[in-house]
Each structure stands twice: as C-alpha cells, then as structure tokens.
C-alpha cells in the first residue's frame, strides 16, 4: 500500500465503486422491484450511515469545527476522516433519493428515457436532479390537466 494513501482514501475508492454500481443498476435495471435495487436502497444508507456514525461519534468533538459558520464547517472538513464521512453522507442520501425519484417516476409512467437523464443529473448534481424531477412531474401533470 503506498504510504500516502490512508484509510479514508481507500474507503473513498471502495464506496465510490459500490455507489456507481448501485446507480448503474438503478438506471439500467428494467425491473425496479428487483432485489438488485430494493436491497441497496436500504443497505447503502445503513452501511454508509454506520461508517459515518463511527467517524462522527469518535471525531466530531475533537475536530475544532462545527456547524455554526462556514469557517467552522471548513475546520470540520479539514480532517480527512470527517471529510470522508461527509462525502458518504452525500452518497447515501443521494442514492436513497435517487431510488425515490425512480419509484415516483415509474408511478407516473414517466418514460425510462427521461428517467435516465434525470437520474444521471441526480447522480452528478443531486439537488439539481431532484428539482429537475419534481418540476418535470409538476409540469407534466399540469400539462395533462390543462389539456384534458
């Protein structure tokens, strides 16, 4: 193991591979009730959440940072292990929301083509993807209503 790679670097790479596989399955798997989606939907937030919990409970108090200002948040994330925990927070929540978007999109019979674009945006720029989906849904239902 190269000496400049610590545990956070390795966990970062590993969780990255896992999350990419999960998103690929979410976007490409034809059946959303498959275990390939229903299991990661809960397993990813729980597993990543437990790593997060371990780091935060052990390191938060001694970090010298907090949530009170941008400077405090920067001090918090100056520690690589807390930075990794924050990153896993993103990955876990984003994927959970991604599955929710996919489920809701299926429910309104939104084509898988449009879903794929929305989910790719939700993977890369998550809040933008969620907004894109919610506005797509509202606009589509609005269009259906005013033309019905």
């Amino acid at each position: 193991m190269p000496s400049d790679l610590g545990v956070p670097d390795i966990l970062y790479a590993l969780t990255g591979l896992i999350i990419i596989a999960c998103w690929a399955l979410l976007i490409l798997h034809p059946d959303r009730s498959s275990r390939f989606i229903t299991v990661p939907k809960f397993a990813v937030p729980v597993a990543f959440g437990l790593i997060y919990a371990g780091v935060m409970m052990a390191k938060f108090a001694g970090s010298g940072g907090g949530y009170g200002s941008i400077a405090e948040v920067r001090a918090l994330f100056a520690h690589d292990d807390i930075l990794l925990a924050g990153w896993l927070h993103y990955l876990a929540y984003d994927f959970f929301i991604g599955v929710w978007i996919a489920e809701q999109a299926d429910r309104m019979a939104l084509s898988r083509q449009i879903q794929a674009v929305i989910l790719v945006v939700a993977f890369m720029f998550p809040p933008m993807g969620l907004a894109l989906f919610l506005i797509t849904r509202a606009a589509t239902q609005g269009l259906r209503r005013i033309t019905a």
């Binding site: 083509q113 929305i118 894109l132 506005i135 849904r137 606009a139 609005g142 033309t147 019905a148």
Partner: protein, 265 residues
C-alpha cells in the same frame, strides 16, 4: 368545427407531454445558473443556448401531442407510432443533454471541430436534429393519408405545417450546419437582438430557421382561428399563410446569405 382539445389519455400523448414537462423543468433548473454564470460563448451567455433549446423543444413536443390528436386513436398508438415516439424522445434528450453538457464546460456544441469527440458529437447532433424534424413530417404524412372527411382549416394547417416546416428547416438549418458551418455570414460578434440573440451586425441564418420551424405552430393555429372567424375562407387563409411562411423563410435566408442582419444597428 374541429377542436384541438381535449387531448386523449394514451401513451403517445403522455410521452410527448412528458418531454414538454421535462424541457420546462430544464428551463427552470438552468435559469439560476444562467443568472449567476458570467461566462460568454460566441458572444452570448453560455446558458442562452440550452435555455432556448429547452424552451423550443417544450413547444415542439406540446405541438406534436396536440396535433397527434388528429390521428384516429388506434393509429396514434400502434407499433410504428410508438417507435416514432421513442426515437423522437431519444433525439430530444440527446440534443438537450449534450448542449447543456457543453455549456457546463463552456464549450461550443454546434460548429465545434476542436476535438475528435466534439466533431463526432456535432455529427450526432445533426442526426438528432434531423430526426426531430423528420418525425413531425412523418406524423403529417400519417394525418394526411388518413381519409377522414375532415375539411377543417385546422386539420389542413396541421398537415401543411407538419410537412412544410421540416422541409424549410432542413434546407435552412442544413445549410447553416453542413455548408456554412456557422450561424453567421460575416462576423456576428457584437450587438444582438435581446432574448433571441440574432446578430445586428452580420447575416444570421437563425431568423429564417425560426420562421421555417415555427410554421409548425403558426399554420395549425391560423387554421384553427380561421375556422372560427372566417369559416368560408378558412382553407384559403391557411394556404395563404403557408405561402407567406415560405416566402418569409426564403427572404430571411437570402438576407442572411447577403450578410445583412435582420435588424441592423
């Protein structure tokens, strides 16, 4: 008298309305970035193009959903029609996704031969854009071939609009994208018409592109109005509007070729 609404509750209509809903959402989601981003591309805000394309595609797909109602229900949802729908959705998503992706990177999407990737993508965009107008043409043919005894000017306007706009568009946009390789004749950097972004200092192909393409909305609308206010002359009004659209497109195209702006400084 033929009415345009209500829209039917079928897969084709839903699929096309959903694209319009999605493109509307794209406009909303990209607007904050457009307001915050100071980068320029070919003299325009980097996000101007994705916003214009998303808006235009939203209108395009609402038009398709509305005009598709002129087909009988079974003809609207048969297998070849759903193939058509899938291809049109894929083409629209590809265009907007790549245009937005390039805007994010601050790179041109059209007329960009800088790298092998961008050259290839520009060619693919040409195919996508061609499909986007070929599909309305095929829809127009389907409506035309369906002998249903409907003599309304609305139906006539829809058929002519769906057949004519793609031809005008392929000529103008085909020349712009495949012969001139530029939106301008001359150096169009500098003053432009607000919102539309057309040059005020050089020839610009986009006014002709705009008028030709939007014949798809103008002609059915002209027919729909004519049915209501001048039923005896309604079909003649549509033919007149079609002629006007052709003449205006050719005139604007010729003006661009001559290197003259639509609205000179």
């Amino acid at each position: 008298m033929r009415s345009a609404l209500p829209l039917a509750d079928d897969e084709t209509t839903h699929a096309w309305l959903a694209v319009a809903g999605f493109m509307t959402a794209v406009v909303v989601v990209l607007t904050p970035g457009a307001l915050y981003d100071a980068r320029l591309l070919s003299g325009a805000d980097v996000w101007a193009k994705p916003l214009k394309f998303a808006l235009s595609l939203a209108l395009h797909f609402v038009t398709l959903a509305v005009l598709a109602q002129l087909l009988r229900p079974e003809a609207r949802t048969d297998r070849s029609m759903s193939r058509l729908v899938r291809v049109s959705v894929a083409a629209a998503l590809f265009e907007i996704a790549y245009i937005a992706f390039q805007a994010l990177r601050g790179r041109p999407s059209h007329f960009n031969f800088d790298t092998p990737f961008e050259t290839g993508m520009y060619a693919l965009m040409g195919i996508g854009a061609t499909l986007l107008v070929v599909i309305p043409f095929l829809l127009g043919l389907r409506i035309h071939r369906q002998r249903d005894g409907d003599r309304s000017a609305y139906r006539l306007g829809a058929v002519i609009g769906l057949l004519l706009a793609p031809i005008l568009t392929l000529v103008v946009a085909g020349y712009m994208s495949g012969v001139a390789y530029d939106r301008w004749v001359g150096d169009g950097m500098g003053a432009s018409i607000p919102v539309l972004g057309w040059s005020r200092v050089a020839g610009d192909f986009r006014p002709a592109h705009f008028v030709g393409l939007h014949g798809m909305q103008v002609l059915p609308l002209a027919g729909w109005i004519a049915d209501r206010i001048a039923p005896a002359q309604a079909r003649r009004i549509v033919w007149g509007a079609a002629l006007l659209t052709v003449v205006a497109t050719i005139a604007l195209f010729a003006q661009a070729l001559a290197g003259r702006p639509l609205w000179p400084l």
